[in-house]
Symmetry: C3
Subunit: 287 residues, 3 copies
Amino acid sequence: MSRVMAPLRSIASRMIKQRATIINRSYSSAGDKLIDLKVNDDTGVATVTMQRPPVNGLNLELLQQFGSTLDQLEKSKCAGMILTSSSPTVFSAGLDITEMYKPKPDRVKAFWTALQDAWLKLYGSSFPTVAAINGHSPAGGCLLALSCEYRVMVGPKFTIGLNETQLGIVAPRWFQDSMRGVISLRQAEMALTLGRMFSTAEAKEIGLIDEIAKDKADAISKAEEFLDKCSNIPAGARKLTKLSFRQGPLEWLQKNKEADLNIFLSFVTQPKVQMGLEMYMASLKNK
Amino acid sequence: MSRVMAPLRSIASRMIKQRATIINRSYSSAGDKLIDLKVNDDTGVATVTMQRPPVNGLNLELLQQFGSTLDQLEKSKCAGMILTSSSPTVFSAGLDITEMYKPKPDRVKAFWTALQDAWLKLYGSSFPTVAAINGHSPAGGCLLALSCEYRVMVGPKFTIGLNETQLGIVAPRWFQDSMRGVISLRQAEMALTLGRMFSTAEAKEIGLIDEIAKDKADAISKAEEFLDKCSNIPAGARKLTKLSFRQGPLEWLQKNKEADLNIFLSFVTQPKVQMGLEMYMASLKNK
Amino acid sequence: MSRVMAPLRSIASRMIKQRATIINRSYSSAGDKLIDLKVNDDTGVATVTMQRPPVNGLNLELLQQFGSTLDQLEKSKCAGMILTSSSPTVFSAGLDITEMYKPKPDRVKAFWTALQDAWLKLYGSSFPTVAAINGHSPAGGCLLALSCEYRVMVGPKFTIGLNETQLGIVAPRWFQDSMRGVISLRQAEMALTLGRMFSTAEAKEIGLIDEIAKDKADAISKAEEFLDKCSNIPAGARKLTKLSFRQGPLEWLQKNKEADLNIFLSFVTQPKVQMGLEMYMASLKNK
């Protein structure tokens, strides 16, 4: 009997502990610019900064703005993109939990669709992409990092991982595919079933990140070095080679967008999931 | 000409050398309890011990009892399973060769079906599984270990591997898939084409096992540590995440059970295979 | 604007720098024996030496002779093949560029078909294969090495890689599959999108080669050691196990030979590709 209750108590306690990482207070309003875009005219490299305090929770507006930014970069044939965060401690805490609690049907559909579209554009971008991970990067934050072509992470104190199972959530297939493109099948199964968060040293060892930087400036500089190597490669051949590697996961989501949306909707509207979210949000307010 | 004969002589010589590993004297009778099950009431962890002297040869009865045990654990929502052996030197020597020599049609069909069913239940179990590999683990023994989610092996003197090709046998696709879930495609191709047996140090290096233990008690203790980590993860999300990683191999066998059985039957009934088995069994008796 | 031109200038400059590697002067005529075959009667091991000076450019005749040699070895049930080069500095510089410049329709079709056929025979050979890589091995040279089952490379000064993107070319899917059978998905995506050439030390580290040799004799000797291990394995089981690992890529090309040929033809006949080849060949003559 204690075995049945233990995981539930454990979830509650973990949710409270992870508050600093997951909380997404609604500091932003609809008109805010949640994505900052700066392009270096010499190199053509675009720096895209998520700036939704306090933890870059991925809500509908941020995801839509991110998708539009990627469209814009695609049209301008940018030389490469660096994705980073304005926060000194968090890259992105992942999906904004308030989008999932007592959601309005239209908005929650738009929310998940915006996430799908942003991922399709990022994972399948024609230009090279690097994540300059300058803070914690759980769940959806890790997904964005994994979908880039190269990862530089500020160490040693931040963590990264797809920790969905820790909160009772199954990472969708395209989250799993994104991780499978980066680390081995064995490491991915263990990381995802345990919902494991990795230190930068651990992440480097299994290949989840490519380089460790000492601070954000160093991360940006290392990201630029990678993009500089890419700039020597004819863009058309580079793009087609990248897409042939990513074709499987991209095609899967393109063909299964509706089914994937329905799985999410039927999960999020379950009474026990709503109750879990309610308890979690209450615990945050009481702190 | 010497090139043609050399492999045959080599097989015979190897079969004799491997006698200690492969021999499955029929010490057990139909009523024996070939699988021991103990559940720790505090942790909910089940320890499943194969106990068919001398080398846990996987015969029909052992496989059926193992399948039933897995069903029982599935119903009881056990917290995790540790698979180990009562032998001090052998985890399992693999399939019992006497099941394949001059087999009765009904029994040999039931035998292979029991192996398929046991694998489907083990590979796709909803509870976490660890192999505490306290002895040699060739062929079918290695398959059982690979199908668990974590492997702790007593070192340094035991060996593990899918060595089927050494005996002129092609490991079925699901054996190969089980290895591919654990080590790289490159390592799996080399291991399987060469039928290579790995020392614990070699197995650890390529990821075929996760940890080396100094003795059985240490192996069990390390297995419990892994299961303790799993116990912090909500069971439903963990299970679905695990199954999404293992869906491909599981679905393949579910859809191809009949074809896979027929391949085995047509192989095992070949006169030259029967002759090989006869020579092998004769060589054991003469020792 | 400079961003658009830079890659083109970069290609030209790189093409000139890579001249030593890529140039395929037509030293050979139609009657030449471009492939040397020697079989060791004691071991049954065949040594196949590419001997088309100066850099073993893969032209129609070499590929056809290589295909015929593989057929011959298949029929003779050879114990294994070592693939190497008569050049002291180049294993093979890859496809002969003169086959692609202003090609005659019939010959260029025959050329690509000969490459497809040679690959199908090499990748799916029933006998074990080792590349003794005694010199630089870019592009098509790397493909041949990757298609063998084991790679020993003379170090430290030679390089290896599928560098097609550097020249604005997309490596076909079966080139990519050949690399994916040897290194991780992550490493393959990075290697192919960047068209990276690896030093022997780098290649060894990521598994692109299996061993480093100090000279050609040492490479041959190490190759023989690998084949000696294979000779202990019953040939039929070894072959079927190998093919089950390579079935996916082999079947893909068998089913898509025509489509793959058409992609190549439509690429190579593009005016801008022809112009690039013309500039490149002119740059070689002017040196």
